[in-house]
């Protein structure tokens, strides 16, 4: 008896698991949190060019400097424009895809895998196609979409796409929507499939129209899915980098924070300022994601 007891005690050692994840805990603490701290420290230093190794404390100078930097406000504005169009566009097109498929249809698997493949390809590769599709040459000289519109006698639709002065970010959102819609579709499909069919059947027996079933029964059930989708799209949008780099590299009209940060670090070697931009991106994401993680954590513990 004593033997089984002691053995049981050994087996249920509550700290056993801790030691197995310890290496990962250390790695995350050092490489995620430690390095974020280090970056913040850089952002508060005077290391503003390649030749100075001046790590002295600069206060918030680099941050206030950003506010007066027209390049930064331009990139920030661009990012916001991009985010709005990208999030709304992806949400709607993903939702439409899932609505078309959720009841089940012959060929569902085929359509689904076609809608999702953009997630499997690098944007540096896909950028080649999109750069060409969104070429700004028009009419007889046009290639890509402008050429298609010209052939279809829809000349009014021809435009400068991502090289346009005012609409560049809206054009840039197109490939992003194209890439992420399938993912959103998959999340919504999972949401729909998680709702028991009886709920729908019962409403139908009660004489509810299909529209009412979606409006009052299905969509309310999908609230957590909507939240997940918004968080995923939002943080991806804030970080957007290779999509834009793959299409227009450092072009001024499509500059966003991540691109500007890259330029500041590599072209101007301004570590302090680059770090400050990175911290700005981080803070925007953290403001949204941390409450979300706490919420997930809570609902998780209730289970």
């Amino acid at each position: 008896m004593a033997l089984t007891l002691s053995r049981k005690k050994r087996i249920t050692n509550p700290w056993g698991g801790f030691f197995f994840v310890l290496p990962s805990i250390v790695a995350v603490l050092v490489f995620v949190y430690g390095m974020i701290g280090w970056t913040i420290k850089f952002s508060l230093s005077n290391r503003t060019n390649a030749w100075s190794k001046d790590n002295s404390f600069a206060g918030l100078k680099n941050y206030t400097g950003l506010l007066e930097d027209p390049e930064f406000t331009h990139a920030f504005g661009n990012l916001m424009k991009f985010t709005v169009v990208f999030m709304i566009g992806t949400l709607i097109s993903g939702l439409i895809m899932s609505l078309l498929l959720e009841k089940g249809i012959r060929g569902e698997g085929f359509f689904r895998s076609i809608y999702l493949y953009p997630m499997a390809i690098s944007f540096i590769a896909m950028g080649t196609s999109w750069r060409w599709l969104m070429d700004s040459a028009r009419d007889d000289k046009g290639t890509g979409l402008n050429h298609l519109f010209h052939m279809a006698k829809l000349n009014i639709l021809q435009n400068d796409w991502y090289s346009s002065e005012n609409a560049s970010m809206y054009a840039m959102a197109l490939p992003a929507i194209w890439q992420m819609s399938g993912y959103v579709m998959a999340l919504f499909l999972a949401g729909f499939r998680g709702i028991p069919d009886d709920l729908r059947e019962a409403a139908r027996v009660d004489g509810a129209t299909e529209f009412k079933i979606y409006r009052h029964i299905l969509f309310p059930q999908l609230k957590p899915t909507f939240l997940t989708v918004l968080i995923i799209l939002g943080h991806i949008s804030m970080k957007v980098f290779d999509l834009i780099y793959g299409i227009s590299t450092k072009s001024y009209v499509t500059k966003v924070l991540a691109i500007y940060m890259w330029q500041v670090i590599f072209d101007f070697q301004n570590y302090a300022k680059g770090s400050a931009i990175a911290v700005v991106i981080l803070v925007i994401i953290a403001i949204v994601v941390i409450p979300y993680l706490i919420y997930v954590n809570k609902t998780e513990e209730m289970k």
Binding site: A27, S122, L282
Partner: protein
């Protein structure tokens, strides 16, 4: 997302019950759905279609008027020279991606098991700390990471990318495995415990044999994201040609100044995409699984 939900979500809906004859409006809606699905299909497929047809028209054979049309005859002229440039970077990518994916999967499986079945005080909090790592912009760690690499003596080698993908892959791999293991009934583990097995032994003899699908999911996930990664590659290798990987080499080919050689660029982009496309074609189900179980709620 929990494993049973993912299971339900990735299966096509069974429509065998709906065999009854459709009414007039039912037929209209079905036709409408298929038309909409087809339009979306064309939009989704267009960029890859462009890439494929224009990769077989030779190096400069892409003419404006025929760019959307399939080639009149197959011309693989662009493939040889492009492959010559891309071969070494792609081999290098394969070399580091295989390593980082395998290490990631092992680490993820151990962590996932602990967070799902062998919790300790504060494990939920630590798990949440991990999860935040999934959302951070890597720009916010890039400069210190570069310095760490120099300090650790791996600066200028391909191992910088192994380290980056393993470490910053910890959150997602842990999450996928945790959700996978959460679906395994606790009774199974309790029964083994009663029989006197320790947790390590339970992991080795009961959990690991059940983990093969989980490993496939994580391996594919890590493979695809590391292969397609551009941010770490360009920051950590500093664009050095000696360390060029698939995406940075491709960017060098298609980057500014070379934009007129469409045939060449399309071919290069296609070649770089082939490995991940093949994985997607044959193991797409597992890729979708990774996408879904790597998302938190739903």
């Amino acid at each position: 997302m929990s494993s049973d939900l993912v299971d339900r979500a990735i299966k096509s809906k069974d429509i065998s019950r709906n065999k009854r004859k459709l009414s007039g409006s039912g037929q209209f809606w079905l036709a409408f759905r298929y038309s909409a699905l087809t339009i979306l299909f064309i939009i989704a497929a267009l960029p890859i279609y462009i890439m494929v047809v224009n990769s077989v028209k030779g190096i400069t054979g892409v003419t404006q008027s025929a760019a959307f049309l399939p080639p009149t005859h197959l011309n693989f002229d662009a493939w040889g020279p492009t492959w010559k440039v891309l071969r070494e970077p792609m081999q290098r990518t394969l070399f580091f991606v295989v390593q980082s994916s395998i290490i990631s999967a092992i680490v993820g499986s151990i962590n996932g098991f602990v967070f799902a079945k062998w919790r300790f005080k504060g494990s939920t909090f630590i798990f949440t700390l991990f999860l935040f790592g999934m959302f951070i912009p890597y720009q916010a760690i890039m400069i210190p990471l570069t310095q760490f690499n120099h300090w650790a003596g791996i600066g200028g080698t391909i191992y910088v990318l192994v380290v980056a993908h393993v470490i910053y892959g910890i959150p997602i791999c842990t999450l996928i495995f945790r959700n996978y293991y959460a679906a395994i009934p606790n009774e199974l583990i309790e029964a083994a415990r009663v029989d006197g097995a320790g947790m390590v032994r339970i992991f080795r003899t009961i959990i690991l044999p059940l983990s093969i699908p989980g490993f496939v999911v994580v391996l594919i996930w890590q493979f695809t994201s590391a292969w397609n990664d551009f941010l770490f590659a360009i920051f950590l290798t500093g664009g050095s040609p000696k360390l060029a990987v698939a995406t940075t080499a491709l960017n060098f080919i298609t980057g500014s100044g070379n934009q007129v050689y469409y045939g060449n660029n399309m071919t290069a982009s296609l070649i770089v995409s082939i490995p991940t496309l093949l994985v997607y074609m044959f193991l797409g189900r597992y890729f979708l699984r990774g996408l879904l179980s790597g998302s938190l709620k739903g």
